[in-house]
């Protein structure tokens, strides 16, 4: 039996990061495999956490600081796990690492981005703006190292950035690499993607210009978002003074996501507050099936939101969303449950509370049994592999952190057998 103190963690979001840092601080060696060029996952894209309304970067920064000071955490960004062979205590993990085209000599000075003539769709902001092909995902990104999206480079370009960089940090000769990592335990913390709400015909996403998703709203409200935190609508940049939130966009719907995505009620309540704080003369309306704010603090947050007379909570299913093409306004048709009638209302912008889709959905990986919804079937997962957070069921950050911490204890058992 190999004495292998390595815990390999797939996913560098809050769950994976927590597992890595906690494991490292307990004397294990943690290796994170992250698909993005930065760590932090979904949390990094959030403006504020719900109910506490505090910035997620605050917790990320502490975790990064713990990584910097510990030395037992290694991480691969732009990386993907291809295969996991072996058994508990002796896994052999194959990781594919895509080239960053910027090496560790990068100082983060921004010269490459300034020199770069090419643009790319900024997926960090859900395509609401563009970055240069040479870019840093955001100012507090960790690692603080630029990256080049080669697919966005203008044909035969690849010069201005090299010339601008005084530090020999740009290297287009980098190739995709395959790394084999031996690990005693594997933590699955791949997180979630936002459900593709354009699949929901009646909600107008993709056709009605001023219908956006909750995650887009998060970026729109963030000081480092596409509008520097100004909440304006996409069609004409108009300030959003009258906003609606449509809950369960995809969730609790057997044609889309049969489960409840846990976080969307709280997220919409929070986002209604973003708007109300930014524009004191604004109004917000939330259309819901049930208001799900379970827990110690969460319900008090709901009560606080309810105290605002300019936020209306309406139990009702949205039947249809259309556009007034002349004004860009959004027309929402709702089945009001209590009035047993269909009502129409007009808004500046509508936010769809889109659900979580597990990142593993449709994936085939040795040793991991994945349900049709995309969750890890924990009763069928191989010994020594531990699923955490949203890989098992939709949860919020707090529960994901609890789960990740528990997974480290189980990893210790696998490693120290």
């Amino acid at each position: 039996m190999a004495d292998n103190k390595v815990v390999l963690i797939i996913g560098g979001g809050m769950g994976g990061l927590t597992a890595a840092v906690e494991a490292a601080e307990a004397g294990l060696e943690a290796v994170i495999v992250e698909r993005n060029p930065y760590l932090g996952g979904r949390v990094a894209q959030h403006n504020k956490y719900f109910w506490k309304l505090c910035p997620p970067n605050c917790g990320l920064e502490i975790n990064f600081k713990r990584i910097k000071n510990n030395g037992n955490v290694r991480f691969y960004t732009l990386a993907k796990v291809e295969d996991i062979r072996g058994e508990e205590g002796d896994f052999d993990v194959t990781v594919k690492v895509s080239p960053r085209y910027v090496n560790e000599r990068c100082v983060g000075c921004d010269a490459c981005a300034q020199a770069c003539p090419s643009f790319r769709n900024n997926e960090f902001n859900f395509g609401m703006d563009k970055t240069k092909a040479a870019y840093i995902p955001f100012e507090q990104a960790f690692p603080f190292q630029y990256v080049i999206d080669e697919s966005a480079c203008a044909p035969d370009c690849k010069r201005p950035c090299i010339e601008a960089c005084k530090y020999n940090a740009i290297d287009f000769s980098m190739k995709e690499e395959t790394v084999n990592i031996k690990a005693g335990a594997v933590v699955l913390a791949t997180g979630w993607n936002l459900y593709d709400v354009s699949k929901i015909d009646n909600l107008g996403f993709g056709t009605v210009r001023n219908v956006i998703t909750n995650m887009m709203m998060e970026r729109l409200s963030a000081p480092n978002g596409p509008t520097k935190g100004k909440i304006v609508r996409p069609s004409d940049g108009k300030e959003v003074k009258n906003i609606a939130f449509v809950q369960c966009a995809g969730s609790r719907d057997e044609n889309h996501l049969p489960y409840c995505s846990y976080i969307c009620c709280l997220a919409s309540l929070k986002q209604a507050m973003y708007v109300r704080e930014q524009y004191p003369d604004s109004k917000a309306q939330i259309f819901y099936i049930d208001l799900r704010t379970p827990g110690l603090y969460e319900n008090r947050f709901l009560n606080k939101v309810k105290e605002d007379p300019n936020i209306t909570l309406t139990k009702g299913k949205v039947a249809k969303i259309t556009e007034d093409t002349l004004t860009g306004d959004v027309i929402v048709e709702v089945e009001d449950v209590f009035a047993a009638a269909r009502k129409k209302a007009r808004f500046d912008m509508v936010v769809l509370a889109a659900g979580m889709e597990p990142s593993m959905r449709g994936l085939k990986m040795r040793g991991i049994s994945i349900t049709p919804e995309g969750f890890v079937d924990t009763s069928a997962v191989k010994k020594g592999m531990f699923a955490v957070g949203t890989t098992k069921s939709p949860v919020d950050v707090a529960r994901s952190v609890q789960d990740a911490t528990a997974a480290v204890l189980k990893s210790i058992q696998s490693v120290r057998r």
């Binding site: 997620p56 970067n57 917790g59 603090y297 319900n299 924990t378 009763s379 120290r416």
Partner: protein, 744 residues
Amino acid sequence: MEKRFGVYICKGCGIGDAIDIERLSNVATKDMKVPLCRTHDILCSPEGVQIIKDDISREGVNTIIIAACSFRVKYDVFDFPGTITERVNIREFVAWCQPPKTDDTQSLASDYLVMGIIRTQKGDLPEPNVLENLQSTILVVGGGIAGMTAAIEAANAGYEVVLVEKEPQLGGFANKLYKKIPTGYAFMEPLIVDVDIEKTIKEVEGHPRIKVYKSAKIERTEGQPGLYDVTISRNGSSETLKIGAIVLATGWKPYDAAKLGYLGYGKFKDVVTGIEFEEIARKGNGRIFRPSDGREATKVAFILCAGQRNPEHLPYCSSMCCASSLKQARYVRGNPDATAMIFYIDIRTPGRLEAYYREAQNDPGIMLTKADVKGVSDAGNGNLYIEAENSLLGEKVKVEADLVVLATGMVPTTLEPQVYLDRLTQEAAKGDEARKAYLESTPKPEFILNLSYRQGPEIPSLEGAYGFADSNFICFQYETRRTGIYAAGSVHQPMNMAEAQEDGAGAAFKAIQCIDHVSRGVAVHPRAWDITFPDPLLIRCTACKRCTEECPFGAIDEDEKGIPYYKINRCRRCGTCMGACPERIVSFKDYSVDIIGSMIKSVESEEEEFRIIALACENDAYPALDTACINRKQIDPSVRIIPLRCLGGMNLVWVADALSKGIDGMLLLGCKFGENYQCHFVKGSELANYRFGKVGETLNKLQLEAERVQMMQVSISDYDKLPDMINEFVGKVKEIGPNPFKGF
């Protein structure tokens, strides 16, 4: 260690363009008399780092001052084990936020370099403080599902475990349940399954590394992580055990239904709580016989959120009752002729539990309606009416039932002692007599841990946590204000059984991790790498008790003369005691009143120049400032930023010293405090604010304007606003005018 200094100045990233490097080198070599000062075009490059490494090996340099970028970056290349390494941030804080090559820019860089050199001159290389006879046994308090899971998981990881349960048997509330919700992937038939708690109990009781104490209580918990002496009493005798760390898993009690008279509890025999309903189902082996006349109930009403989400009772949601009630509706439906009616505000079955709800919706024998239940009344025929408004059945309805089940909420076992102790503190503040009167008139509730801590015997209460042993950190779930004690299960937060199992394992891990850290003399979260520790010069202590009262973690006890006694393994190294101490006697090897004070005093403040000192929390304010500079926002060049481990370490003497020396203003940048605080040391910024309240006095004595010192609550995301906030403050100070003490 005899220090051999080396100053290394980087010219890259625009530093060389903004600052006259030769003049800056002269500051090091001439003013500060550091003989060795080198510059490099790209200090972080392998070639640059090699220069430093060569000096370490050839010249014996062991005290390294790197004037380059922020400590937040290039941490891995500027890592020289065994040395004192100080990072002086002249990239973000000078080159990136100031116009190039001005006198102001130059003197800013020079001041930062001087401060950095002073820090290394005054500081020492720390060595860990590892206490002797450290223990690694884990004590789990509470033998419910969370506690048993914690015990099993810790034992399976190789640790000895002591499990203390106050009841004669293990199992907690799980013992009372008739069935549970299946935990597998899909919530399909069977929709109720055996609890099978006996299996877990057997595993605990048969585990070679778990020692179980039943019908037992903790009489006293003395000491600190790694060195607890825990006295356990059972059957009239007591025993003291050596313990390393503690998992608190004492669970919950149902909310007192007697307070829910409006729902008929206590008035009608056939109004029962959820837990009582479980007992009814157990007794009838699935058949539901109602208490009043023993008839089989066939129309059972469930009132959800009974006394929950209600400011008069429990303002929170216990998060497990919706699913529990759906499960209990299944018991009723064991009789195909019986119906269950569920009255809810919202059905909360988050995540995959939604499928469990859907199964209930598909059962024609389960009626679900949103409703505001206003009361329960006598239907006259032995049955009861549920009176509800705003329901899906109509505006105002009366629905008949032959049994009513109230989904009462969870009250943490920690609540009662907390309420008692908080009131005791309030009364004691009024004087000895009020304290005595309170003690005599108020029955003492059962304590749980009985800690022999200066700050009290239990986990302290937290605003908004309603008695739960939680710390309201989203990212850091296992923080408590008592180091080495980790809460799990429904004493931690309201949760269901499956969640309590994960939580039990999580808390057990943190206990293991804590034991590991104290064995190496390293702090635990959030400074989980720190080997420094506070080392007070007690001969100068006046026993003022500020440190013992203020320490957010209760790390400091007192001897009989009131002299503080540090229990170092409880300490989180935030430096709040250092900030609290009026005698300035608390020091860490690399962090002390003298070190920071000397840095502040080194800032020259000439007649015609304004100088402002900003003390910034290094966890949030500092990164926010860094980010502002990464965005090339200009910060007024009169401001010198000094990071603190936590603003709680801010000592008022710094303010007095700075202003009496001619510094024109001071900014204190800390985290949000109060409800939904963001301080990583829970109370640090709040205590800084408390001290800030006394700054007026100090300034008054100096006959200076109080507005010269300001505290700001800053978050890490305030990087877009922070430069403006600072610049505005500087503007105000300039309006007040220069400090008249300049030049003295």
